[in-house]
């Protein structure tokens, strides 16, 4: 991170080790000096200000923090930032272009696949990981692939429809 001015604590903690990490986030190269214990989710949220990655449960159960790590869906609340050094990370902010939503985002809106929106970024990235591997999943395959992500509002029925809607659109557009 570069800045003209960065305030330093007058009372610096002793011996806090710092590691420089470099990674590609949503196609852009990013670097940061981090404590080795910093979680990837926290680097994304509080360091890079990509607050679309949510933390829900702290134990890898709810999946609100799901991001794509070298193309695979992972829970960023239980991965250290230093583990992401040299890797490729994609967050919800990387899905849409300035003018156009990704078909998965369109699908969630079209099929009412969200209510409070808190689980939605993780859900959509889990869906992307699925559709990147399987462009024509069955309902059961979608349910299984999404079973690492919890939603408290929707009862999943419309989330499943959203993913199937997106799969169809991606196939129709020849993007799958």
């Amino acid at each position: 991170m570069t800045s003209l001015y960065e305030e330093i604590s007058p009372d610096p903690p002793d011996n806090v080790p710092v590691r420089r990490v470099t990674m590609t986030v949503n196609g852009e190269k990013r670097a940061a000096d981090v404590e080795p214990r910093l979680l990837l989710a926290h680097l994304l949220r509080y360091g890079f200000m990509l607050t679309g990655t949510h933390t829900g449960c702290d134990t890898s159960n709810c999946g609100a923090c799901t991001v794509l790590f070298d193309g695979k869906a992972i829970k960023s609340c239980t991965m250290l930032a230093v583990q992401a050094d040299g890797h490729d990370v994609e967050t919800v902010e990387g899905l849409a272009t300035a003018s156009e939503l990704h078909p998965i985002q369109e699908g969630f809106k079209h099929e009412h696949g969200l209510q409070c929106g808190f689980c939605t970024p993780g859900m959509m990235l889990a869906a992307k990981a699925l559709l990147d591997e399987n462009d024509d999943p069955t309902e059961d395959e979608v349910r299984w692939a999404m079973s690492g992500n919890l939603c408290r509002c929707t009862g999943y029925q419309n989330i499943v429809k959203s993913v199937l809607w997106a799969a169809e659109k991606l196939r129709a557009e020849g993007r799958s």
């Binding site: 949510h54 902010e93 409070c116 349910r143 408290r152």
Partner: protein, 785 residues
């Protein structure tokens, strides 16, 4: 001739309009409390008690203070010097903010640290040394009532036992007579276990006290920002106009974000002391073990029956486990909430309920979680008792219900507990459900399957429930009456901003409120922006819970729109140069009765309000409406589940789940269906896997999502939704509450289905959650199992 507006096309009433809020949510651009960063912001962490009941001998914070980056360490003793160690609850009890004398449940707030970053704050919490002297622990009402039980609330003068209240309603003598005359008395004892709403987003706040302006701004996860402002004004003795509560996007609520928690209060004090913004974000364990839960009620229920199946009387006794403090955020004058709404859909001549509330060494609460103040327990108990009674009589489930329903022409109907139901068609609702599920066919399949050793079951649950607190006669919080509000400003180009006193947590108010305005004024919904949650800008309202948004705030939206229309009519008459009486209204347009082609649109009226008003008329086109509903709304529904139980493992699968909901006029059918899906899932969760329990030492089992099981897309059944529509007779657009209906009604359907599958073996009840081992054990220990 001008073309009349198509209401569906402009996004009015009945349009399945796509949600406005989704545009930011799908981009990851929601703005939840933890997404907010203020300059100079510090981070707060709470140290919680590992013990359920223990005296605090000492707290040593010296090691925490020594950690670089720590700005403040607070204990109960320090809070007490500011008279903030305890706070009043919304149920007129007191609750510890930070413990001073002893801890009363595992997870109770003991100390807090404010530091430069959250990692340092957590480190410092671990460095605090608390010396506890363990005390005997009480984890259920039976232990709480036992002779010689330790006194949990020894802080309260005149409290000599663990009883919170002893309360009754109904006609004791009349009910006793009905039981004397009964041919048969059907009895059932049930436990509705403790469950936690656990919205994915935990609670949190950012308190920002500005010494230079004396203004306190608090961003917080609250479903009721105005109530919080009132509470802070009363507790912290800050002037109300210097308090601004902002509830940004909420990651779910379900009642968990109604109470005022210690964390909020401490972050406010910390910000005042440090004169810097202080952020507190709870972790999932903190949320699960310390914040508002739902249920935890034991029932002894009895039905007096005539042998032809008529219910002659209802007797209920409930023991509710309230945890260590009576902090129910419920606005009724009834101690056990709306438990006595049970049996409202049945024509019951007489009924009596006794209810006892007990303190235990568990987290405080009981009324959260899509339940409208214990309507969830009421309807579950009702429908389980009804099934047991039908079994005892040897009658068909559906027939027994039909025989006892309040008839369609018998409204308004006074229930034996005193509620006034205003509408319903319960028999029709049941028929729609039975037809969809193929009732008679299923009964035949069940008998066939039995011959092969397979266990099929069908469970029915029918109920009507009071949703939408309140009316101001019977419902208030801290004396503030349960009205709600809407303010509408129509700009000169006919675009508008609407603000209400409610607060969406996923319900989609930004979408649906605009649809009500659109219905009333003909302004396209996309021309109306909706804002909520900021007490500096929104009119005073009581917030969103108990399915009250549409019944109360939604009604206010319709009423304020009508006020705007009344003024627009005057403007139209002025523009058309006729008298007001000669002007007629159709959607979006006033026209001359004698010459319908001559008219002006609502947009033209809006422009005139700012540029061409008649002499003597106040300029502008803005208004506000405060709505006090004449009654609760009474949605009703029928839920029917079919299941197959594996006798070898106790595992049960839902074969079919049919929900027939009548919530009156639907503003946005897509959103209503989404809410019903969510409710059915939470009903499934509670009946199958989701519960909070405690070991003998008061350790919470279910303190994280590895132990507290929440269904995923894989376990959750598919749902078939149907509807009937009896409009609410008193709501301005005929709508009724719906957000909680399926959570209230569906658990009994799932449980009744499993019991139905094993009833012939002699199983009468299995308490929720129906975990495979419980089902298996029940089958094994049944007389014919």
């Amino acid at each position: 001739m001008t073309q009349a507006l198509d209401e569906i096309k402009i996004g009015g009433l009945g349009a399945s309009r796509k949600r406005v809020e989704d545009n930011r949510f799908v981009r990851g651009k929601g703005n939840y409390v933890d997404d907010i960063v203020l300059p100079g912001m510090l981070h707060m962490e709470i140290l919680r008690s590992p013990m359920a009941h223990a005296r605090i001998r000492s707290i040593d914070t010296s090691k925490a203070w020594a950690i670089p980056g720590v700005r403040l360490v607070l204990t109960g003793e320090m809070m007490a010097t500011r008279n903030l160690a305890w706070m009043p609850t919304l149920s007129y009890d007191t609750q510890a903010v930070l413990a001073t004398d002893k801890v009363r449940f595992q997870g109770q707030e003991v100390a807090c640290v404010v530091a430069d970053d959250p990692y340092i704050a957590k480190d410092a919490c671990e460095a605090i040394v608390v010396d506890y002297e363990p005390l005997p622990v009480i984890v259920n009402p039976r232990q709480a009532m036992a002779e010689g039980a330790p006194l949990i609330r020894d802080d309260k003068e005149n409290q000599h036992d663990n009883v919170v209240y002893d309360w009754e309603v109904g006609d004791r003598a009349g009910t006793d007579r009905a039981f004397e005359q009964a041919d048969l008395v059907s009895k059932l004892e049930l436990h509705y276990p403790r469950s936690h709403p656990s919205p994915l987003e935990c609670c949190g706040s950012i308190a920002d006290y500005d010494r230079s302006t004396s203004k306190l701004t608090v961003y917080m996860t609250t479903q009721a920002p105005h109530i919080v402002r009132a509470a802070v004004a009363l507790v912290a003795e800050l002037p109300e106009h210097m308090i601004r509560i902002i509830s940004p996007d909420l990651g779910g609520g379900f009642g968990n974000k109604v109470p005022v928690y210690p964390g909020y209060v401490i972050s406010i004090l910390a910000s005042i002391l440090l004169e810097q913004p202080v952020k507190w974000i709870e972790d999932k364990t903190g949320n699960l073990i310390s914040t508002g839960f739902g249920r935890d009620v034991y029932l002894r229920g009895e039905l007096a029956l005539r042998k032809d199946g008529k219910i002659l009387g209802v007797r209920m006794h409930t023991d509710a486990d309230h945890g260590a403090f009576f902090s129910d955020a419920q606005p009724s004058k009834f101690k056990i909430g709306l438990m006595h709404s049970a049996f409202a859909c049945y024509d019951v001549p007489t009924a009596h309920l006794t209810a006892r509330g007990m303190y235990t060494n568990k987290a405080p609460g009981g009324v959260a979680y899509r339940c409208s103040f214990r309507v969830t327990e009421a309807m579950f108990f009702q429908e389980r008792m009804v099934q047991a009674a039908a079994d005892d009589l040897g009658m068909d489930q559906a027939e027994f219900r039909r025989l006892n329903f309040v008839r369609d022409d018998d409204f308004p109907h006074r229930t034996p507990f005193g509620f006034l139901t205003d509408s319903g068609q319960y028999g029709k609702c049941l028929d729609v459900g039975l037809e969809a599920v193929g009732y008679q066919d299923f009964l035949r399949q069940k008998e066939e399957a039995k011959k092969e050793g397979r266990l099929l079951g069908i469970g029915i649950s029918v109920m009507t429930e009071p949703l939408g607190a309140g009316n101001s006669r019977e419902y208030d919080i801290l004396g503030i009456k349960m009205f709600d509000s809407a303010e509408l400003r129509v700009h000169m180009t006919g675009k508008a901003i609407l603000r209400t006193g409610a607060k969406s947590q996923g319900q989609g108010h930004e979408t649906t409120w605009a649809q009500i305005v659109s219905h009333e004024l003909g302004i396209p919904a996309e021309d109306i922006v909706v804002e909520e949650g900021d007490t500096d800008t929104a009119p005073f309202g009581m917030g969103t819970y108990a399915s009250r948004s549409t019944p109360v705030a939604g009604a206010a939206v319709a009423m304020v729109s009508r006020k705007i229309r009344a003024k627009a009519r005057k403007l139209a008459a002025h523009l058309l140069e006729v008298s007001e009486e000669d002007v007629e209204w159709e959607l979006g347009r006033f026209y001359l009765r004698s010459a319908p082609d001559r008219g002006v649109t609502i947009q033209e009226c809006a422009m005139a309000a700012y540029s061409n008003m008649p002499d003597g008329m106040e300029p502008g086109l803005e208004n506000v409406s405060y709505y006090d509903p004449p009654n609760l709304t009474w949605p009703f529904g029928c839920y029917i589940a079919t299941v197959e139980v594996d006798p070898e493992t106790g595992v049960w699968d839902v074969l079919n789940m049919v929900a027939v909901d009548d919530c009156g006029v639907r503003i946005n059918p897509m959103i209503v269906e989404g809410q019903i899906h969510g409710g059915l899932t939470e009903g499934f969760a509670k009946s199958s896997m989701q519960w909070i329990t405690f070991d003998e030492e008061g350790n919470c089992i279910g303190s994280n999502f590895m132990d507290y099981l929440i269904p995923t897309a894989w376990e959750t059944p598919r749902f078939e939704l149907l509807e009937t529509c009896v409009p609410s007779p008193h709501h301005p657009i005929g709508a009724k509450g719906v957000g909680e209906s399926a959570t209230v009604g569906s658990p009994a359907a799932y449980v009744n289905a499993v019991i139905d599958a094993v009833a012939h073996l002699g199983v009468r009840n299995i308490d929720m959650p129906l975990l495979p081992d419980r089902v298996w054990s029940a089958i094994q220990s049944a007389p014919s199992g």
